[in-house]
Amino acid sequence: MTNTIKTHGGRRLGAGRKLGNNMAQPTTVIRVPVNTVKIIKNFVSTLTREHASQTHVGFSDLIQFIRARQHITLPLYTSKVAAGFPSPADDHIEKRLNPSDYLVENDTATFFVRVKGDSMIEAGIFDNDVLVIDRSKTHQTGDIVLAMLDGEFTVKILTQSKKGVSLIPANRNYSAIEVKKKQSLEIWGVVTGSMRKFK
C-alpha cells in the first residue's frame, strides 16, 4: 500500500450512502460531551440487543443501565442448587462479592498509586499496576512499602536492622538503597495489594 494522496479518480473518503443501522428504528445524529461517548454508545448497543422491539425508551432505562454497571454483582450461594427443585438455599443468598472488600481492609486509610517501571517485578508488581496502599498498617521489615525518600516516591521492600534501613528492589538488575542518616525517609504507607487489567 502506498500512501500517496490521490488527486482524482477512485474512492473518496466519506462519500456514498452511509452504512445502515441494526436498530430497527430511524436514527438521528446528536452532539454529546466527549467523556460520555463511551457510555452512551454502550447503552445504545445494549439497548439494540436487549430491547430491539421496545418502542419507547425512557430515562429509567438509562438509569437501570448505569446502575447495572456501577456494582460488580456476583451472587455467592452457600450450597449447590439441584436442578428442578426450588432450593431452600436460595433464601440464604449472601452478600455479593465486591472486589473492594477483598482488596481494601480500611477504607479511610487506603489510597491508590500507579507504578511505572520494573524494579519490583520479582514481587509480582509490574509496569502500570495500581497498588493498594494501607496507611493504617504499621510497617515491618519485609513489607513492601511506598516510601518517600528525599522528596521522591518509590516502592520497595523495607528492611530494618542494626546497620540501618534499606530499601530493596525486587529485581536482580537493581541494587539495594541503603538509606543514609542525612537522607530524609518517610514510610508513606504499606502496600497491601495490587490490581491489573488485561483488557
Partner: protein, 428 residues
Amino acid sequence: MSRSITLVDCNNFYVSCERVFNPKLKNKPVVVLSNNDGCAIARSEEVKTLGVGMGEPWFQFKDLVKKHNIIICSSNYALYADMSDRVMSILSEFGFNQEIYSIDECFLDLTGFQKDGLTSYAQEIRRCIQQQTGLPVCIGIGTSKTLAKLANHIAKKNGPFQGICNFNAMTAQKQNKWLHKIKIGEIWGIGKQLTPKLRQIGIYNAFDLKHASPEILSLQFSVSLKKTICELNNIACVELEETTAPKKQIACSRSFGVLITSFKNLEQSITLYVSRAAEKLRQQNSYTRSIHIYIRTSPFNKKESCYANSMTISLPEQTDNTLTLIRFASLGLRKIYRNGYKYQKAGVLLSKIVSSKEYQPSLFSKKKSQVKSDNLMIVLDQINTLMGKKMLTVAAEDITQPWRTRQSNRSPGYTTNWNDLIVVDRFI
C-alpha cells in the same frame, strides 16, 4: 458531671492536603488560592510568618511570592472534600457524639472519659489521623464548645503543647493565666463588630469576659454573648448539633477566568450557577420563593468604567425546578445587563427557602406540565449522582464555557480519579 467537649481541627488544612501527595511542598512556603486564583485561603506556617493575611488578594502579595519562592496551588476541592471525609469518619469512631463543624474541624463529646487519661486519648486521636491520612491536627478539650475552641487555639499557637491542650486537666491558676493571654477577638463567637465595643467597656481578654456580668452584657448586646460568658464559666450552653439544619439561603457565585462582555456568556454563567444552587436546594428537600441575581465589573480595575447591578425576583410559586429558575433568572438578567462593560463576576442567591413540608402550590399552577418537569429534575439529579457531576446539564450552560474559573495550578484528583493517581516511577 463536668463535660469534656473536644475540638479537633486540621492545621492549614488545604495546604496539608496538598503536601500529603506532593512531597516537594514539605517545609516550603505554600499558599492555596480561592476559586479563580483570587485570594489566599490557606497558608503554610512559612507563608504566615512572611505576613500574607487570610483572604489577601493574590496581586497584593505577588512580590512576596517572587522574593521567597512561595509555591502557589489552585484550590482542589474534590481532594479536600475526600480528605475531610476520611478525617471525619476516623474521628467518628473516637467519640459518642460528633458535630462536623466545617470541612476541617469537628466537635466530639468525650464526657465520661477520665480527666487525665483524656490527654493521652487525644494524643492517640492525633497519632491516628496523622498516620492514616498524613494530616496534622490540633486538639482542644474544655467543658464547653467555647472553651474547647479556646484550648484548640492555645494548642495551635504554642509549640510545647504538641498539638493538644486539655483545659480540663489544668489547675484554675493555670487556666486563668491562659485566659489572660487570649484576646477578646480570638474567642469563638466574638466578631469584628463586637470587639471594639467590648474593649470600650474594659473587656480586653477572655479572663475579663469570664468575670463580666452575663445579665448586664446580654441587655447591652445580645443573648449569644451571655451564652459565651456562661460557656467560659464551664456551663455548656451550645450543644453539639449532629445534623446540620437546612440552609435558609443558598448562594452560588464565581469570578470569571476572563472578563466577559457578551450577554450570551453572562447568561450561560448565570444558568450554571442557578443549576448548582437548584441542585443544592433539592438536596435539602426545599423550595424557594425568591431568586436574586447580580453582575459586576472588577472593583479593582480603575481604568475601566464600573457597573454593578442586581435584581431580586419574587417567583409566582415556590419551586425547586432548575428550568423554572433559569427562566426567571434569564428574564432578570435581561433587565440588568448593560452593553459595553467588562464583567468580572456574577452570582445567584436563592432566599425565602421553605422545606418541602411547608410547600404550598399556587391556586392557578399548571399542575400537569409541572409534574413532568419536576420528574425530569429527579432523573437529572439521579443521573448526575450516579455518573458524576455535570453528566447531564441544561444546554444553555454551554459546554465549552470559555469564561470558566481560572485554576492554573490545580493538583490532580489523587483520590477521586483513576487517571490522576500518583505515579511512582523512581528507580534510584
